[in-house]
Structure formats: structure tokens, C-alpha cells
Symmetry: D3
Subunit: 132 residues, 6 copies
Amino acid sequence: MNKDLFDRGMKTRREVLGDAYVDASLAQASEFSMEMQELVTQYCWGDVWNRPGLERASRSLINLSMLSALNRSHELATHVRGAVRNGVTRDEIKEVFLQTAIYCGVPAGIESFRVANAVFAQMDAEAAEQEG
Amino acid sequence: MNKDLFDRGMKTRREVLGDAYVDASLAQASEFSMEMQELVTQYCWGDVWNRPGLERASRSLINLSMLSALNRSHELATHVRGAVRNGVTRDEIKEVFLQTAIYCGVPAGIESFRVANAVFAQMDAEAAEQEG
Amino acid sequence: MNKDLFDRGMKTRREVLGDAYVDASLAQASEFSMEMQELVTQYCWGDVWNRPGLERASRSLINLSMLSALNRSHELATHVRGAVRNGVTRDEIKEVFLQTAIYCGVPAGIESFRVANAVFAQMDAEAAEQEG
Amino acid sequence: MNKDLFDRGMKTRREVLGDAYVDASLAQASEFSMEMQELVTQYCWGDVWNRPGLERASRSLINLSMLSALNRSHELATHVRGAVRNGVTRDEIKEVFLQTAIYCGVPAGIESFRVANAVFAQMDAEAAEQEG
Amino acid sequence: MNKDLFDRGMKTRREVLGDAYVDASLAQASEFSMEMQELVTQYCWGDVWNRPGLERASRSLINLSMLSALNRSHELATHVRGAVRNGVTRDEIKEVFLQTAIYCGVPAGIESFRVANAVFAQMDAEAAEQEG
Amino acid sequence: MNKDLFDRGMKTRREVLGDAYVDASLAQASEFSMEMQELVTQYCWGDVWNRPGLERASRSLINLSMLSALNRSHELATHVRGAVRNGVTRDEIKEVFLQTAIYCGVPAGIESFRVANAVFAQMDAEAAEQEG
């Protein structure tokens, strides 16, 4: 493992997905999945997400559309949350998924709206709790 | 058919893909495929591409990532060209496809680079011809 | 939004999926997903499902096979129910999914049978309740 | 190999795809691919295509939609031709692919129209040759 | 149905997936899904899984990679268990899914590790129970 | 870029795919695609293909099944050749694609046999030329 690349990746991953999410993800990691955590943190977060050629909000738009096309709802939920942290508005997320409905088909659009609706409801509940 | 929506769609389609491409596409359209042309021009171009919530360059980024994920190389070539017309740089297109390689897998990334390389070579040849 | 197309689409959607399903779907629709509801109701239900060129039972067969191939089990369940409402028999649905197993692979076939089994069990329970 | 199932499959395959296509397919079959020919002829043509629960025209509609969703254009061309032999009209094929555009996305619809256009052009050329 | 092929398939299926799994699967089979059980047992288990050209451990590696690529997590769980029964080690399964992450994309890799983690936890619990 | 990882990757890539293929691939690489070459050589070849946990012949089996499932015929051809270099026999490749036909569907199997047939014909022609 390249320790330096891993550390840079972990920093970016925490900035995009939040400490709560990353801590939970690491806590769940078994010995079996530890090398997968290392691979993803280095190549995905340390390398590609840290490249300067596109701003993070744009990378979030790209991820939302790929995950919707690939039918990977679990990761999609994670990146809806990441998109908001990267400054993408809920209205912009809506635009991505309307475009998804046209290019990937109506079922992909419907599923993506369902996922985003659930994430937003959870985020609103968390915000209400913190305020309360 | 909704004539007004079709006309707005045709205008946007020509702006994004260029008159040469759209004229060729319409010239090829058989009686068999004419209603498909109408459906796409209305719903895809007249509606979604005309929505104000995202700028066209961002919609191009989204399309490149979806088409790469969906393995639709023919449409991908069309939208590489459209992305350039929408102000996306070649370097930004490179970033999209590096991210594709990580999220959709290396074969998707390789194929997308192959498609973009061919489009850029053709665009360069056209530019050289016009200058010559 | 094209109000006329939307209204025609809503009528067809209710005929195919039933009032109970559509009412629940609309009740769940957040402000975030309202435009998606409009897009789907117009283009999918108002336009394509209302075209006279194929009868609804045939459109249901087509949908079952596409949703099985696309691995979209949530929508597949909705359209298993819609297929029955459109006059497709359970035996015909079985034939679709056996063909799916050959052309989309055994895992697609197994998943589609699982989805249909669950829908039929629910429909039988509803029928028993109404009779009871 | 089950010789009886193979023979029934070969008969059905010839009825649906035509002698010219099947003869060419067998002539091309190398020693390497012979067992694949046997597998397909038995299970796909001998079993599923021979089941009485759905008529062949309906099986063709199902195949066109699955192959469009699966992005398998080579097989799609084969089954466009098979669909016509099974009595599906060109207008009905158009309806399938318009529905595909909505459920599998616009790029799937565009590709399927492109494939069908090419098959119809070839069929028209063959018909003109025979008449000439 | 070919009774002999079905019987050979059932034997192989029980050897690979275990009696507990197969008994549960048959107990759940409704009249609706019985012919699907027959199709899968004959062609998948009776024919392909019984071919001598590849040993079962290799066939398990192939299945894990296909099911990961196809995004079929339910079947993937079944075949993680089957792979272990066929002598594939947990470390080898880890290698398959790291390779999946590179070729099918990071979300496919993450999902496959999640599925395998859950299966291993369940297997460990069952082993503890038996020892207890 | 990690020069050491790149160099190890290039060595493995040359061993698996052959100098002729890799030289051609690098000669074609434009400035646009150079960073993609670096990403693939490092993470795919330098890391995963060099991991000791599975032998190369097994990694080839896995790749053939994933590429078949993902419908990436261009890369599939490259890895059919690589599989042979890794000691996989043509008969074993046949077994992989028969299993593909069952799990990914008949069209995936047919396409994979078509790709392999073309690669083998080319390899035989090259061998004849060298002998000649």
C-alpha cells in the first residue's frame, strides 16, 4: 500500500462523505474487506477525486449519473449525501435524475428519485434533531 | 405531436449537436424512424435539455458519464462532439473518463477514451480542412 | 407541462396500475419528485402507453421482459400487477420469465419469478380479504 | 446431447430464422463453437421457443425488447428478421422500440431503430432482387 | 422434462449449494415457479455444472465474477456459499472481488464485499451454533 | 504517478498481453489518453494482476467471464489472447463461455464465441506465417 496516497485519499473521502459515514464504514470493515478499503481509498479518493481538473461539485454530478445508470442504489445514497456536502443543491440533483430518466430509462429515474427522497428525509430528521 | 415542443427541441438539438449532424440525421430518417425522431426531439431536447436548472456544459458532463456507463459508444461519440460545442474542454472530458474508469470499470474507461480519441482526430481533420 | 397530455396519461396509468397504486404514489410524491411524476405521466403513460399500434396486453409483455433484463425489481413488481389488469394470465407471465431465463440469464429469471411470486401472494391475500 | 430435443429445436430455429440464416450459421460453426450451437438449439429453440403457452409473434416481441435492453445489436438484427417471419409487422416493431426508448432510455431506442432500419433495407434489397 | 438430466442436475446442485439450501428452495417453489426449477436444474446444473472441462472451484470463481458484474446480489450470496463448499478459500474470494472492483467498477466491488461479509458472518454463526 | 508501481505493472502487462500488443497500444496513445494508460498500468496491472493470491490463469478465467457479462467485446478479444498466454486452453475458454451463456444469457454466450473464434483464427494465421 502507498501510505501517502492512502492518507490523501482518506482526507478527501472524509471531506466529501463526512466523518460519521467514514467512521462507520471503517468500524464495519472486517479483516476480509480491509484491502478493499485500501484499494478504494487510494485509487478512487486519493487519485481521481483529488485531481484538480474538475471541481468536486462536477465530480458529484458525474457520480450521481453513473450510479443511477449502473443501478447501484446503495452507493447512490452515499453520493447523494456527498453531493450536498460538495455544494450541489437539491434542485440540481433533481435535474440530474430527470436527465437520467430520459437517457437511462424511466425505471432508473424513478429509483433514483426514491433513493434521493429517502436521503433527504433522513438529512432533515438529523438537522431537526440537532436543532431540537 | 406537440409542434411547439418539437420546434424548441429542434433548436436546442441544432445548437448542441450542430446543423451538419442534425441535417444528416434527418436526411437518414426513414418513414419507419420518423416518430422516434419526434419523440426524442420533443422529450429529450425540447423538455429536459431546455430546463434552466443546469447549464448545458453540466448536462454534457452528465451525458458523457451515463453513455459511458451504458456502453452506448455511438451516442457517446455524438455527445463528445456536443460537449465540446457546449464549452467543455478536452481536459475536462479526460477527467470524466478517468472517473468512469474507476466507477464503471477499466473497460468502460478504455472504450470511452477510444471513442473520444476518434472524435477529436476527426474534428482536427475538419478544422485543418477548413483552414487549408 | 402539457396539461392535456398529463390528463390522458393519468387516466391510462390509473387503468393499468389501479387507483390504489396511483393514489399511494401521488400521496408519497414530495415537492422534490413532483416534476418526475409529471414527466413520467406525460411521456410514458400519456404518449407511449396510449399509442394505438399495440394492445395493452402486448405492451405489458414487453415491459415485463425489459424490466427483467434491466434488473429493476421494484418496477417489475408494479408491472406484474399491471399485466394482470391488462388481461395477461399468470401462465403467460410464467412464459415471459422462462424466456427471460434463457436470454438474460438464469439469475434474471430466478429474480423475476421471486418478484412475481410475491406479487401473486399479495394479490391472493387481498382477494381473500375482500371475499372474507 | 439430447438428439430429439436438438432436432425439434433445429426445426423451430429454421422456421423462425429461415434456412439461409441457419445454414450460414452452421457453416461458420467451428469445432470450437459446435457445443454452443448444440446448447442454444436444444434449450433455447427446442425447449422455450417450442412451449405452447405463448404464440411465436409474442415471443418475438419479448425478444426484441430484451435484446434492446441488453444492448446486443447483432442478435437484435437476427430477431428483427425473425419477428417479421413470425408475422410481426414493421409498425408493431416500431411500437416496441418507442417503448424501449422510454423504459431503457433514448440511446437504446436510437440504436434499435438503427438496427431495424438496416435489416429492413436489406430485406427490401433481397425482395427486389428476387422480383427483378 | 428430461428426468435423467434433472436427476443428475439435482445431485450436483445439492453437492454445490447444500441440502439445506436446496430443500428450502424446493419447499418455497410454488406451482407457478416449478417449471423454472426444472429448467434451471436441467440446463444449468445437469448440463453445464456437470461438464468435465473445468473443475468446480473454477466454475465458482467464474460465477462469482459474473454475478458481481450482473449486479445480482441475491444469487451472489448463494454462490459465495457454494464457492466455499467447492473448496474456494475466503482469501481467493477476496481476490475475485478486488479484481471485480477494477474491471466492473468500485461500486460492484463494494457491493460484493458487503454480500460476502454477510454470508461469512452467517456461516460463522451457524458453525458456532453447531459447536456450542 | 507512482513510477515503481507503473514499472511493475508494465512488466506484468507485457507478460500477459505480449510486447506486440502493448507496443501498439502505447504507440496509439495520444497525449489525451496518456494518463489513462498510467492509471490502468498502475492499478490494474501493477496492483491487482500482481497480487499473489490467485494464479494468472485463474485471473484470466475471471476476466473472460466479467468482460462477457459486461458486453465489452473489444477488451474481451484482448483477454482471450491474454488467457492463452497465461496457459488457459481453448477448451477451458469454451467452458467459460458455455457457462456465460447460462448465467448471462444466450446472446452473451453467442457474442463471446464469435469474439474467441475471430481471435483464434488470427492467432492461427500468425502461427502459420511464422512457420511459413
